[in-house]
Subunit: 460 residues, 2 copies
């Protein structure tokens, strides 16, 4: 019986023989391919493979399967809960050069892409087609990574999340077999929904190599605007009313005053440093006008002010670039600190209560932690800025995170709306899912009996 | 070692002790709870239990689990592929008296219902709230049954299918444990998507006892209309163009001339007996007008004619009642025959080709088989009217069904968009899913190791 070190050494030798220079064991490379986005510890794999195609991925998984060595897929490295760490070592497969857009079918509003294509690359490719891929989690993530974490972001309130826009997948399974799930048909009732079992499985059931996604017609007209509220509570109440009126808003983003200040400084804006909503309307010219007018009448009831909207592309771009840079803007508020972005999601009726309780908790703890959120979905983010040299601050931050997760779950929501569980949120799984976890584990065990696919993620 | 008969006898005795008069072994009752909708053989269970609550279901499943006896859940009996048959006997659990609407949360646009609530009961309950549950598979199915088959229907083109509107489930698992999947939050990235694993699993993984669904605001204005085309092909082309223009149409239903004739006779209409689209627009008054005008301009390019639309409720109701009665209208075309309604779904770019090839196949075979379809989703139905005393007709019908399934799959679609696999379509699973089936089977084996939940459905 050989030990783990010997097994892994044999696996890496076999991988070197098959892949030559595509494989690296350089420490810096390995560290760059593990978790780098927060203060969670960086745990590199033993080697990094740059995969060129699905057969590379399948062969690598087969070798790892033979030697029972972990395999972790890497897209662009923007996951936030330690999904890329290799606590038990193993192989990291870098998918980023698998970046071909294989097929756009404008008639069916679908695109099939390799897993390493980023959402911006896809939209750049689509720019002359009148179509677009709406999902926008902030980071320029790969589509494969977005499948893995069940990503969503600012546009999800109108266009849905990755579970909604993913039609079909090609997946390398733990035994190295390549399977296809779903089809290009818009719906199917033929057997278990393996597509949605893989979406959000964080690389623990297989490695996605190709994805067929739904596309949408670019709206004829886009209007965007900003408005202020005297309190977070009133901003949330206005959001709730907007959703309840079934206004088909495309984006509705909350920024708390700390976040607005950060954006003003970082993105050279001059927004009032008050609880703020950034909104966007998609439709025909008439419909955008109708939506904006309805929105204006809604926020009036909640003391909303300074609402200005415009369909000018440049103004719009400036606004949303600032929103996308909110993470960096926040980090710049305290350059010596590291940021940890967490998220939670609640039924929208509980949103105001959950956000205000969280804000009060942050204030009481004396921490700096801007709040932003995709509030139309009841989803919001807290970016904790922590001096990681301070044990006290780390402990305080962990406690805030835990209280937020529990608060969201107790309000009938979830400890994560879009970031996933990774390593960081495993401790909340039991609270959220209770005895259902045993069936998730049973599925994992059935599909990956040797536990080689991204082990020790989602649960302990 | 006792044999199966003895095991089942022991199980039924234990069930009788626990449930008394809730349990029936009457043959007629048993037959009424098996498959009755097509010419597929009726295969009754050994006993029928009327469940009053989740604990009844859990206790019954526990008893069946101990004795390794099959369990099949029954909603209202409207499934079309033999999902309710008990080829190996066992217990049928009738969920229809579990029909309480437990909670409507208007603020969150959600409702939580027991599995036996029908979609019409839910909408009747909601009538004063300004909200509605849009999914409409034709039959007045139970919400639990709609979860089981991943149902959709006429409104799915705008509002999605059961996979899209189901937020959370309570499920009795094969070991009798009650679990909860999902939450009332609109989205989550916390672990495997057990909700969507259960949706469409046709009772093979567990029995759904409660469902939380999304509701939608009743549209301020509803416009509906009818138009004709010189050919099925042009009607499909007009549908494709409508979807590609991203017109947010709420319903777009194709009826072939045979179906129009049947509806005219059955529902006392005087529609032109030509390829016909029934359409519906939801929105504000302005938006409905805008949609109808855009639609009128689209169909003009495809020789569409006689387009008349109206927001009058009575005219609308007459039209959609006729559409809903299409099944019975078709059966009335040949009263001595039995109908078998099949469905297929293709990428919309292939719809015209798939429907016309199918129509040609039916004509060449000399069969009577009206075509209707939720064509906005690329989904259509063929209702084969067959004299079941004729071996020749049965064989011809089976061949048409098989060719249709293969045609749809080869066009990048699926052998069923909404009816499910049941017993009737198991033979197409391998063609459609290839080596992915082994992982569906692995999931089934992991969750239901004794294969007691609706055995011999979805696969052989």
């Amino acid at each position: 019986m050989i030990n783990e070190n010997q097994r892994f050494a044999q696996a890496i030798e076999a991988l070197q023989q098959r892949f030559g220079k595509q494989l690296s064991t350089n420490l810096t490379t390995r560290q760059q391919h593990a978790h780098t986005m927060t203060w969670l510890e960086n745990q590199p794999a033993d080697a990094v493979l740059v995969a060129h195609d699905k057969h590379d991925v399948a062969d690598a998984v087969k070798i790892c399967s033979e030697h029972k060595m972990p395999v972790i897929a890497f897209g662009i490295g923007s996951s936030l809960e330690g999904q890329l760490n290799a606590p038990h070592g193993g192989l990291c497969i870098d998918m980023s050069t698998m970046n071909q857009i294989l097929h756009v079918n404008a008639e069916d509003l679908t695109a099939t892409v390799q897993a390493g294509v980023t959402r911006e690359e896809l939209n750049h490719y689509l720019r002359t087609t009148g179509l677009f891929f709406p999902l926008d989690p902030g980071a320029n993530a790969t589509i494969g990574g977005m499948v893995a974490t069940r990503a969503s972001g600012t546009n999800a309130v109108r266009y849905g999340t990755m579970k909604d826009v993913t039609l079909a997948l090609e997946v390398v399974m733990p035994n190295g077999e390549i399977i296809h799930t779903g089809s290009r048909a818009k719906k199917s009732a033929a057997g278990y929904d393996l597509t949605r079992l893989i979406v959000g499985s964080e690389g623990t059931l297989g490695i996605v190599t190709e994805i067929t996604v739904r596309l949408f017609g670019s709206p004829e007209c886009v209007g965007s605007g900003v408005c202020n509220f005297p309190s977070i509570d009133l901003a949330c109440q206005a959001t709730i009313a907007t959703i309840q009126m079934c206004l088909p808003i495309a984006r509705i983003e909350l920024l708390d005053p700390v976040q607005v200040k950060a954006c003003n400084q970082y993105s050279k804006l001059d927004l009032s440093e008050l609880p703020t909503l950034f909104v966007e309307f998609h439709g025909t010219e008439n419909s955008v006008k109708e939506q904006a007018e309805l929105f204006a009448s809604i926020i009036e009831e909640f003391e909303g002010s300074n609402f200005a909207w415009d369909s000018d592309e440049q103004a719009r771009r400036k606004l949303w670039t600032a929103r996308h840079n909110a993470y960096f803007a926040s980090c710049a508020l305290r350059p010596e600190a590291r940021g940890l972005s967490t998220d939670a999601c609640v039924p929208i009726s509980r949103l105001a209560e959950c956000v205000t309780a969280t804000q009060a908790d942050i204030e009481a703890s004396g921490m700096l932690a801007p709040i932003v959120g995709h509030v139309g979905d009841g989803n919001f983010h807290v970016l904790l800025l922590v001096d990681t040299n301070s044990e006290h601050e780390l402990k305080t931050a962990e406690e805030i995170l835990a209280r937020l997760a529990y608060r969201a779950i107790e309000m009938g929501g979830t400890c994560t709306g879009e970031h996933g569980i990774g390593q960081g949120k495993r401790k909340y799984m039991e609270k959220e899912h209770g005895n259902a976890i045993q069936f998730m584990r049973a599925v994992k065990q059935a599909i990956d009996p040797n536990n080689i696919m991204n082990p020790d993620k989602i649960w302990f």
